[in-house]
Amino acid sequence: MSRRSIDQILEGKPYKKLLSSEKLQQSEIDLVNTDPKKTQYYGRIVLDNCGRINPEEIEEYIGTGGYQALGMALKEKKPEDIIKIVKDSGLKGRGGAGFPTGLKWSFAAQEKESPKYVICNADEGEPGTFKDRLIMEGDPHKILEGMAICAYAIGANIGYIYIRGEYQLSIQRLEKAIKEAEKLGLLGKNIFDTDFDFEVKIKIGAGSYVCGEETALLNSMEGFRGEPRLKPPFPAKSGFLSKPTNLNNVETLANIPPIILNGAEWFRKFGTEDSPGTKVYSILGHINRPGLIEVPMGITLREIIYDYAGGMSSGEFKMAQIGGTAGGILPIELLDVPLDYLSLQIEGHNLGSGAILIMNETVPVVDFLECCMKFFVHESCGRCSICRIGTKQMYESFKYLREKEANYDELKKIEELAEALKLVAFCPLGQSVASPVLSALKYFRAELSKEIDSNEDYETITREMSDIVFDYS
């Protein structure tokens, strides 16, 4: 890459051209004239460029200030400074667990062993989530830049992106982005004339939900069955090929360049005190405008449904499942709970991957849960027996309930199994099976009990007769 263009990127000047089509430039002008808060681009961090630039042209990304953060990090900052900025920003992992990103980086940075690896987890299998796909398709260079900054901070030289096999377009776009970045010298050897080398490779998954779990992903990357590993040792100590590894979600990495560029203070202006920043949600179900939104942390479900999603498409709101199939079910009473890590934790829920599935009153809870369990039966990796057998048992219980053939103690059985899964399952997949079930039992027990009461088979024992059944256990 020429000296001149490096300087230009560092100064934040467009290096070739700003935007490709005149139509896009036109909309840029419109943005200036209208109230900025009312445009769809207001307050976006991660999706800022998505839909505005041509993702297949690196010049357009550079034109909007791309790779400036990487240049700034390499030229002006030490690795420790970067970790400090990320720590101060309070960014939490957006993949589902919500672990502080800066802390995670500092663990990997402390390790002396080399080589170290940076892995971008793009195995987005959570049903209802498609944010990572749209980030990868809409702004692939932002992820590469985030990875390069992370690699510089922890001292790694090799990066991998693990993408699920179904995302063909994402794979193509990222491959093209890597090639173009290497051509300009933004990846590869001696980036920005420093002695920092970084290369990125792509690994393709083959259709497994559990591979989204970090240690299962590492097994899958090494060419084994995608079964989770025992923690500790954590990936930061012994990860890919038993070397120190830092794993981050796509959305987390896409947050990094703006944070480095604008500073931690700027990032803290968005969202809440405990969970700063924005969150990308994929909203779907019985609403008028399904799709992707990026909103500040701490927004309520009511705002999302009635402001962003354009209201219910049919019927009345009954429940919403947040965080994909492994997330809890929120009833109408919790419409006004702020959606951020802390507030949801108080209610006993988890923000998860950012999928919000909104359902109207036509959806029976039993039918929905049966479908969730069917998914878990299929996706349980079979390593621990409680998950392998427990999910199957729960699926059958819900099937009995739906077919109105359930016994009086079906709900008790389900509850016991869910509690057991939560306690003893080996990996987060098994543990999270409990969350839709337990939350449904908490808020919709009356509806589920009705299913038992409507069992008309006179030979089975129904719920009213449960008192006369002697428990031998």
């Binding site: 796909r133 393709i204 998954g205 083959a206 060419g223 179900g285 990796c381």
Partner: protein, 167 residues
């Protein structure tokens, strides 16, 4: 490509196994991994057959039985289920006369259920090979399948004509 060429392309280390298996499956006209290629791969990469099969059978995208030229994968996950994935299955079963996991007699279509495809914004959705189809209803499915069948008929016709001209 032979197995050796595929292995050379990706590298013979264990960590490239998934990519190699993808490569083997994609070049097979019936979209599956056959016994012969597994044993050849085992010799090439120095991994026991049992381990290769054990790894490949874990992942739902690999198949050990011959599949059709077009693999139809309909999403079964809750978001699509809510918006009527069941009727999509019924429509395809009615149109092609196959159940989940089966292949049509002419070897054109295989019907599979799959977990979330990440296109829930246009639920219910399905993938035919690498093409994504969303906002499905029965009419749309009939239209898509008719189109493919028409294309295949034309292709067979063209092949026949070409073969005839050679004689």
């Amino acid at each position: 490509m032979t197995i050796k060429e595929i292995v050379d392309k990706y590298g013979s280390k264990r960590e490239n196994l998934l990519q190699i298996l993808h490569g083997i499956q994609n070049q097979n006209p019936r979209n599956y991994i056959n016994k012969e290629s597994i044993s050849a791969l085992s010799k090439e990469m120095n991994i026991p057959v049992s381990q290769i099969k054990g790894t490949a059978s874990f992942y739902s995208m690999f198949s050990f039985i011959p599949r059709g030229k077009y693999v139809i994968r309909v999403c079964e996950s809750p978001p699509c289920h809510l918006l009527g994935a069941e009727s999509i299955f019924k429509a395809i079963e009615y149109k092609l006369g196959i159940m989940i996991g089966e292949t049509t007699k002419d070897g054109l279509f295989t019907l599979e259920g799959t977990s979330c495809l990440g296109i829930c914004g246009v639920a219910p959705a399905m993938m035919i090979n690498e093409d994504v189809h969303g906002n499905l209803n029965e009419e749309k499915i009939f239209q898509i399948l008719d189109q493919i069948q028409e294309q295949e008929k034309e292709r067979i016709q063209l092949c026949r004509e070409e073969a005839l001209t050679r004689f």
